[in-house]
């Protein structure tokens, strides 16, 4: 009952006027008289007390301070209250019924206060004064950075929208690039249907040269003009710096390696050979003179510009940017980094935050304020984000790839690959090829289709000649090199596996979306469903749409240009038919170019729609107009629902939570409208009135859990800034308020219902902290786990929810734009399978801390603390919807992740957070014979925490192929594994775990046997896989040994379900670490191959395969499992290492539980710590570290991650291969 806000409950509504408080309370209890039973007290009466700590024990305390009532909401007559309390307590010990709790505030926790002193931390300033920060703020930013995981150079970005819009309506910092495109438009239109293959000489598959070389002269002058134009025109310092960085970034990050290979292919093979034999730096030297010229031309300009105008931060940015030639992800060992760059730059570049992303290292905490502005820390320097591919950068990469290639690559390929499938490590070697001089990369953008189309003949021939004849002296694409799995002992590359780059032409590659946000399992889309079926590979997309980005063009424009029939946003892959019309690349409808779009604010020129930032970037963000709102953008609203039953108090999470909240209260994303509220529950539900003006927080207790209502709907969610003092008081008091509670029940369901009611008018985020099975009221659950079945090999039951209460609740919440995030901190079984539904369908996220205890399990406590920090401060988008569109002929089915599917292509996301990943399965409904490209577009419409409606659009473009070999060549094995994992989770819930396991094995068997039958000339006895798929069996085996799918090993049901939840909602990068951890040997770290990040040298030890054979007793190993690090110390590990790094004299003295590395002033300690810090900085949730001694009992946990080894219940890798082989032969 007690529906919406206005008239919640007869009793409660009466209570809104404070004066009536006590009296009505007793009146409300009337139905059965003021009885002792708690549920009879419908109305929350309010009493007040001074000493919260004591009340649990002595009910009398409450009554005693009655003198204070006047402070409270009610000048209640104490009489009814007394009686009520008396009755209540007589019946029910601890639970304070209606109390106004006066938390002993400020003095209690002085520590909390000083946090505020830090107060308006850097990001805040930035946010509030966009545009002004250049010099002044950026230093401050530096101060706070150390903790931030992500760095963004471009503080300036924040202002950019504003500034730009001042100049014009377009905000992004695009550089005018490839000006020549347009000239070619006629060509492009003609070419697009891809009819025009033959026009090129067969010998040259990559027709670009011809085009480009012709156009080059014209292009270059143009560009330069525009460039200078740009720099002069815009006097703002801030907007400028970004562009260069963009430019430089992109060539290397995305296309860097592969791009080159393409262009290189055009070269005479001789040159190839030369290059191949040289180290990276040499290669650059070889690179054509023309390149260097362009390089020098463009570089100086930018560099000069920036330092001048930008603040210190910016300048670092710059250098970082220009240095971008460093591989975007530090994982690529960047050894003798481009000899071209200056040393100082070098350092900066290495500031590159590894995780495949930021090449920018600026100290901006990864927090909302800064982020909202459009400067997105932690993003990749993807070509995607590059606003305008300046033609110049193309030649530039010359130096860039070189370093990359110089990376130590054990698995060095012997063959040159002119072919552009740099899927795996080896592929990067292509980069060595000197960027072709003849190919000013600025090959006309839109005419791009033509060259593109032309590469196909080459490709087809390649594939047909799979046996090894190829045009450019490259026998066959590296990714197709057959590998005999059973004989290849070291299948795992020494460096991290990279996403394959789609085999597109240079320009498209440059423009394409970064693989970190958008990946497809097949980078070559098969032409027909039949072909796909033949390949037996899963086809799908993996999305990480809301990733933290360092650079993101933000576009403010009156009209957002979209296709009129399919509503696709204009993107780099559309074709302009003429000046006034463009052709949608998804539905092929021809649309008009609106007048406003004709004007390019960057160049201030008219009639160049193809140079608009929307068309130059595959990842852009639009500021949406009011057309995109159904209601005014909602404020940020946060509600915390906390379990305070005995179990919870015992675990002690409240202290950690309140502490983190106090520390991060100012960093919660939001604007001045931000609202916050708290509820606690055990067997009753407690609300906290934090209305401004009260002298202290009031606790309102609703004990009628069968029919929950809101006592004072208006004052439970309060403005964060107006009631900050009260909130702090409450947070300081909360950990001690329930210390003596003996209430063991948990009424989670009713509390959630109340939370839903509270949130429905606005929507927002509900964070639920739960420590046990809900045992009262709606949604109560029974224990379903049979501990004896934990290691059963047969059936694993109860993977699905026990009740649909939580699912329905989640749907209701989703309808009201409310997301429920679950923190489960339990020591025993809590039926996560049921509870998780509340987050799954409301687009929340799930955190699970098994056997959490703040003293007994300090590592979990630390993890919670760090997770909370990230959770509270990360960016958030409200009332979001995500629509995924794809080229006509493809269709999506089955989505994976946390959301509600509102329509066949529309996901409803009440909240979106930067750590959420999604997966989509695709099928090919119509043959794609008449197209050579397919595109996918994800549009995420959300309300930022600043109350802006924004649309983030990612567009991915992939080639279509017609031969099976090409399909195999383009497999992205990591994406495929992640998609398979998602599908397997579905299967295990809907069918059974063993079904899912069989399906996983069958996926390998089918695809490998399909490949085997394709290359029929090879002997059948061997297990042959294409190089692109060589890790497939290993990863599948890893999946089978994953907590989610393993059988035979004792696995608690909740752990299993949590692993499944993670598989469903983690983005690919994190998921891969979880599936296949990285193992490094760390007792002999050297600076060889080290990269530099923030002036620190980060060693890059090679990856070891996950097998005990690699663990020598003399060594120490670090295993990176994503959410946890293990350091395994061998028995006879060098004492020097133990002493220098761990701080103990010898192996025996290392304690059993060790979760930190001491800060010792030795070289090896420094190296180890910088390496671990670097690994940590790459992920949102800071993992905890366990030092595992060889003999300690904890080592089983470590050893279960060694997936290549045999366990009692599972195959070793080799056995698994034999098993597959056997299955194939069958």
């Amino acid at each position: 009952m007690s529906a919406p806000a206005e008239s919640p409950h007869p009793a409660a509504s009466a209570r809104i006027s404070p004066k009536l408080g006590g009296a009505t309370a007793s009146g409300a209890a009337t139905p059965a008289g003021p009885g002792p039973a708690p549920h009879q007290q419908n109305g929350p009466a309010q009493s007040q007390m001074q000493v919260p700590s004591g009340y649990g024990v002595h009910p009398q305390n409450y009554i005693a301070p009655s003198g204070h009532y006047p402070q409270g909401p009610g000048k209640m007559t104490s009489l009814p209250l007394d009686s009520q309390c008396g009755d209540y307590y007589s019946g029910l010990y601890t639970v304070p019924t209606q109390n106004v709790v006066t938390p002993n505030t400020a003095n209690q926790q002085p520590g909390a206060q000083h946090m505020y002193g830090r107060g308006p931390s850097a990001p805040h300033i930035v946010g509030s004064t966009p545009g002004s920060f250049q010099g002044a703020t950026s230093p401050t930013l530096h101060l706070h950075t150390s903790a931030a995981q992500r760095y963004s150079h471009f503080v300036n970005h924040y202002s950019s929208p504003a500034m730009y819009s001042a100049n014009s309506s377009v905000a992004s910092q695009g550089f005018p690039s490839t000006c020549a495109h347009y000239a070619m438009s006629t060509v492009s239109t003609a070419a697009y249907p891809s009819v025009s293959y033959p026009s090129l000489p067969a010998g040259d598959p990559y027709g670009q040269q011809m085009f480009t070389s012709q156009n080059a002269p014209t292009v270059r002058p143009l560009r330069e003009n525009s460039f200078s134009d740009h720099s002069t025109a815009i006097s703002h310092p801030s907007p400028l710096p970004p562009p260069p960085s963009h430019q430089y970034h992109q060539p290397q990050s995305l296309s860097g390696c592969s791009t080159l290979s393409w262009s290189a292919s055009g070269l005479p093979s001789t040159q190839h050979n030369i290059v191949r034999n040289h180290t990276g730096s040499l290669a650059t030297a070889n690179s054509n003179s023309t390149n260097t010229v362009t390089d020098s031309l463009s570089c100086p300009v930018m560099q000069n510009v920036q330092p001048l105008k930008s603040s210190p931060v910016v300048s670092t940015v710059l250098s970082g940017a220009s240095s971008t030639r460093t591989p975007p992800a530090a994982n690529r060992p960047v050894e003798p980094v481009a000899s071209v760059t200056q040393p100082s730059e070098l350092l900066q570049q290495k500031g590159v935050d590894s995780s495949s992303t930021t090449s920018s290292a600026s100290p901006m905490p990864n927090s909302y304020d800064a982020l909202e502005g459009g400067s997105y820390p932690d993003m990749l320097s993807s070509s995607a984000s590059s606003p305008a591919p300046d033609p110049a950068p193309e030649p530039d990469p010359a130096p860039a790839p070189a370093p990359a290639s110089s990376a130590p690559q054990p698995s060095k390929m012997t063959k040159p690959f002119g072919y552009g499938y740099p899927t795996l490590q080896p592929g990067y070697q292509n980069a060595t090829a000197p960027p072709n001089s003849g190919v000013p990369p600025s090959s006309p953008g839109y005419s791009g289709f033509q060259p593109y189309a032309q590469q196909y003949p080459g490709m087809n021939q390649l594939s047909s000649g799979l046996g090894g004849l190829s045009l450019q002296s490259s026998p066959q694409p590296e990714s197709l090199r057959p590998i005999n799995l059973t004989q290849e002992r070291n299948i795992l590359p020494v460096t991290p596996v990279w996403a394959p780059v789609p085999n597109l032409n240079l320009d498209l590659k440059k423009l394409n979306c970064s693989p970190d946000s958008f990946r497809c399992t097949l980078t070559n889309i098969p032409q027909t469903q039949a072909l796909l079926n033949k390949a037996k590979l899963p086809l799908g997309l993996l999305l990480h749409p809301f990733r933290d980005l360092t650079q993101l063009p933000v576009i403010t424009s009156n009209t957002i240009v979209r296709c009129r029939s399919c509503r696709t946003y204009i993107n780099p892959f559309v074709s302009f038919i003429d000046q006034r019309r463009w052709k949608c690349n998804l539905c092929y409808r021809v649309n008009d170019v609106p007048e406003e779009f004709m004007y390019n604010p960057l160049t201030r020129s008219y009639g160049e729609p193809h140079k608009r930032p929307e068309v130059q970037n595959s990842t852009v963000e639009f500021i949406a107009s009011s057309d995109y709102m159904l209601r005014p953008p909602q404020p940020a609203v946060y509600l915390f629902v906390l379990d305070v039953s005995h179990n919870a108090v015992e675990a002690g999470y409240l202290t950690i939570l309140c502490q983190s909240l106090l520390e991060n209260l100012d960093k919660l994303p939001g604007d001045s409208r931000t609202r916050i509220g708290f509820m606690t529950f055990d067997s009753t539900i407690h609300f906290y009135n934090l209305q401004e003006g009260l002298s202290q927080p009031q606790m309102l207790i609703v004990s009628d859990i069968d029919d929950v209502f809101l006592p004072t709907p208006d004052s439970l969610l309060v403005n964060l800034y107006e009631s900050k003092e009260l909130i702090k008081d409450l947070l300081n008091a909360l950990p001690n308020m329930f210390t003596n509670t003996r209430e063991t029940h948990s009424a989670l369901g009713p509390a959630l219902q109340a939370a839903f009611k509270l949130m429905s008018p606005t929507g927002g985020r509900v964070s639920v902290f739960q420590t046990q099975l809900p045992s009262l009221g709606a949604g109560l659950l029974q224990s379903r786990e049979d501990p004896n079945q934990r290691s059963s090999t047969k059936v694993v039951q109860h993977l699905g929810p026990a009740t649909d209460f939580y699912k329905k609740l989640a749907l209701d919440c989703s309808g009201q734009q409310t997301a429920v995030d679950l923190f489960l901190l339990s020591s025993q079984y809590s039926d996560l399978a049921s509870l998780a539904c509340m987050s799954k369908y409301s687009a929340g996220c799930i955190y699970y801390y098994p056997s959490f205890h703040y003293t007994h399990n300090p590592s979990q406590a630390e993890k919670l603390q760090k997770d909370l920090k990230r959770y509270l401060t990360r960016k958030i988008g409200f009332e979001a919807v995500m629509r995924i569109r794809c080229t006509k002929g493809l269709s999506m089915h089955t989505f994976h992740g946390n959301f509600f599917v509102r329509s066949t292509d529309l996901l409803s996301l009440a909240n979106i957070n930067p750590d959420a990943g999604f997966a989509v399965q695709l099928s090919i409904e119509e043959n794609l014979t008449d197209t050579s490209l397919v595109c996918f577009q994800t549009a995420l419409l959300y309300t930022s925490s600043k109350g802006e409606r924004r649309i983030r659009v990612h567009t991915l473009c992939l080639p279509v192929v017609s031969s099976l070999a090409d399909v195999y060549a383009g497999v992205d094995v990591q994406a495929a594994i992640c998609l398979l994992a998602n599908m397997a989770v579905d299967r295990s819930v809907s069918s059974s775990l063993s079904d899912a396991r069989d399906a996983l094995v069958n996926a390998v068997v089918d695809s490998l046997s399909a490949y085997g039958s394709m290359v029929s000339n090879l002997q059948h006895s061997a297990l042959i896989a294409p190089s692109s798929l060589k890790l497939f069996p290993l990863y599948v085996l890893a999946l089978l040994k994953q907590k989610a799918f393993r059988t035979g090993t004792s696995t608690r049901l909740d752990d299993r379900v949590y692993a499944m939840c993670q598989i469903k909602c983690q983005p690919l990068v994190h998921l891969m670490k979880m599936i296949h951890p990285n193992l490094y040997r760390i007792d002999r770290l050297t600076d060889e191959g080290a990269i530099h990040v923030n002036d620190k040298v980060v060693p890059q030890p090679p990856l070891q395969k996950l097998s005990a054979e690699k663990l020598t007793r003399e060594g120490a190993f670090l295993m990176d499992c994503g959410s946890v690090f293990y350091i395994w110390i061998g028995k006879s590990c060098d004492n020097h290492f133990i002493e220098d790094v761990l701080g103990y004299p010898n192996f025996a003295s290392i304690p059993q539980k060790m979760t930190h590395l001491p800060e010792l002033d030795t070289l090896s300690s420094e190296r180890a710590r910088s390496f671990i810090t670097w690994l940590r900085d790459n992920r949102p949730l800071s993992p905890i570290l366990h030092v595992v001694k060889d003999e300690s009992p904890a080592k089983t946990e470590f050893f279960q991650h060694l997936i290549e080894d045999r366990t009692e219940a599972a195959f070793s890798y080799y056995e698994f291969l034999l098993h597959i082989q056997h299955q194939i032969c069958k």
């Binding site: 509503r567 749907l811 734009q817």
Partner: protein, 157 residues
Amino acid sequence: LIRFPPHFPFSLLFLPTSPFVWYPLWSIIAFDELRTDFKNPIDQGNPRERLKNIERICCLLRKLVVPEYSIHGLFCLMFLCAAEWVTLGLNIPLLFYHLWRYFHRPADGSEVMYDAVSIMNADILNYCQKESWCKLAFYLLSFFYYLYSMVYTLVSF
């Protein structure tokens, strides 16, 4: 044992069969409604309404399941009693399909089928839609078959 006259089931079933055809038709319409997401310029319909709509349709679909299955079961029972082996043979596959569908429902939750959270996944939606079309065809054919049989028995009687 009651001995039905040979034409009994047909004459009896002729009447209920005609509305029976409507079940799959309703489902088809419902699925179609689910599928058409009015493409408004806003890119999002009112989430609340849309969700309610989906839940309503799913609820309706679920309500249809039991009557349809039970009536069909009843038919089969009658054919059995009337010893109409051929007709029974035609219907048995569908009967088994119904039984399988009913008992092999998704493991999560107590809801039979047509779960609001998963119905919008295109593969499930496609499956349901195809199923409805097939059933519609089957019911239509059997309708005419019953009609023919009834007339035949009446004439030959």
